[in-house]
Symmetry: C2
Subunit: 255 residues, 2 copies
């Protein structure tokens, strides 16, 4: 068990709830939630936690990650048993890095009992539903330009496509930046063949789940939103029956 | 529930057992194992499944992935309820791609009830133990040259380091290819600064777990073996207290 065992002092667990289904929450994370006095996170993720006696839910809006991290650390320092929840895995474009940023220059907080409990990240849940499109070397890229310039994003997509990595894009598109993903599709069209397979996986493992695979030439920005993870195959990614997979070998499959 | 519900016909689930601890096996995977009549996989992974009445365990050696995939499909076609087990996630350098390769040219097998159930992959379990070293864009690269030329591996590491991705290396080193990882360290030393942080995470979530973080200049090939996943930070990856994390922003954290 990775859940802290002390009953007398506070702790902080930064956990991943997986993509949506309760069947994808690890027993380790469920155990941490059962012991917690406080759950902290973005509104839709905290909404996934069942209320119970003795548990306080602290839901906050998007884009206040640092405030949320500091509030969670302050509660743990007061002896509370605090769980910070993220969707997917907490270490993949989620709350873990924000909590560690909040530890900078704070030796008292650094001495706290802090653990990260992994979860099923969106790209792997999406890949499983489609088949095995990430079965060979791959990259995970956050397309949000909140925290990095668009030029860096484009350079990374170009480098990854040039070296024939498969790719998973998180946060491909939002109302505040409707054009980013269209530019990324343009970059892919410069580097990849028109038949390259792209998977749009929306709300994986929830009742709203939609999985759609198209050729690059047929992909449009509107196929993605903030609940979508986009998987781009490598040059060898192919369909077999109703599945999409990337062969384990670099050479074309000779079966 | 993603476990097939039919009692009268066979099915195949390709599942991830996570890195080792039973606390990291998803409820979805546990449910599939409870319904199975047959479990198929590499010897040490099948050894993690508790024997029970009505369950046949089929353990096989490494490097026979295609034979194993075909045997599992043949059993499902005969009406058996078959679980193919991988460590970690089945779609990341594991059995899912092998099963889909085995479907090529086999329409009867393609019509079977086949599902992939995701798991906690080694790099995310390792990252969680260290802090959040994969908190920004990252790549996953299999260093085994069984199925691709060493030149492709080196080119991908060079491209990923050049675009400042963090990286996770699977299968970094084995008795049959003791020198690959040393060459990869040389490539990293050409592209990255000597202080670049590298995490060697061995047997994560098992009693033999070891997590060690060193600067690139101090890294040696002997620090890795086949039970190790290696995580290389990006240029901004840093220590805070006993943790290692990669800031969410491309610019240096100004805290």
């Amino acid at each position: 068990m990775s859940v802290p065992e002390s009953d007398t002092s506070g702790w902080l667990c930064i956990v991943g709830l997986g993509p949506g289904s309760a069947d994808l929450v690890t027993p380790e994370v469920s155990a941490a939630l059962e012991c917690a006095t406080d759950v902290v996170g973005y509104i839709p993720y905290v909404a996934r936690i069942a209320p119970r006696e003795g548990l306080t839910l602290h839901a906050s809006d998007n884009r206040v990650e640092m405030d949320r991290a500091r509030a969670a650390l302050a509660m743990a320092a007061l002896g509370r048993k605090v769980v910070v929840v993220s969707s997917g895995d907490p270490g993949v474009f989620a709350m873990a890095a924000a909590v560690f940023e909040a530890l900078e220059g704070q030796p008292a907080w650094q001495a706290l009992d802090i653990r990260v409990l992994p979860g099923i990240t969106a790209m792997l849940a999406a890949a499983a539903k489609a088949g095995a499109p990430l079965g060979h070397d791959f990259c995970a890229i956050n397309l949000s330009d909140n925290l990095k310039p668009a030029s860096v994003i484009e350079a990374r997509v170009r480098a990854a496509a040039g070296a024939d990595f498969a790719m998973a894009f998180y946060n491909p598109r939002s109302a505040s930046r409707p054009d980013t993903f269209g530019r990324i599709l343009d970059v892919l069209r410069e580097v990849c063949e028109p038949e390259r397979l792209i998977i749009f996986a929306r709300a994986v493992s929830t009742p709203e789940e939609q999985i759609r695979t198209v050729a690059l030439i047929d992909a449009t920005p509107e196929m993605a939103d903030m609940r979508t993870v986009v998987i781009v195959g490598n040059a060898a990614t192919r369909r077999v029956g109703r599945f999409v997979y990337t062969p384990r070998s670099v050479l074309p499959a000779s079966l």
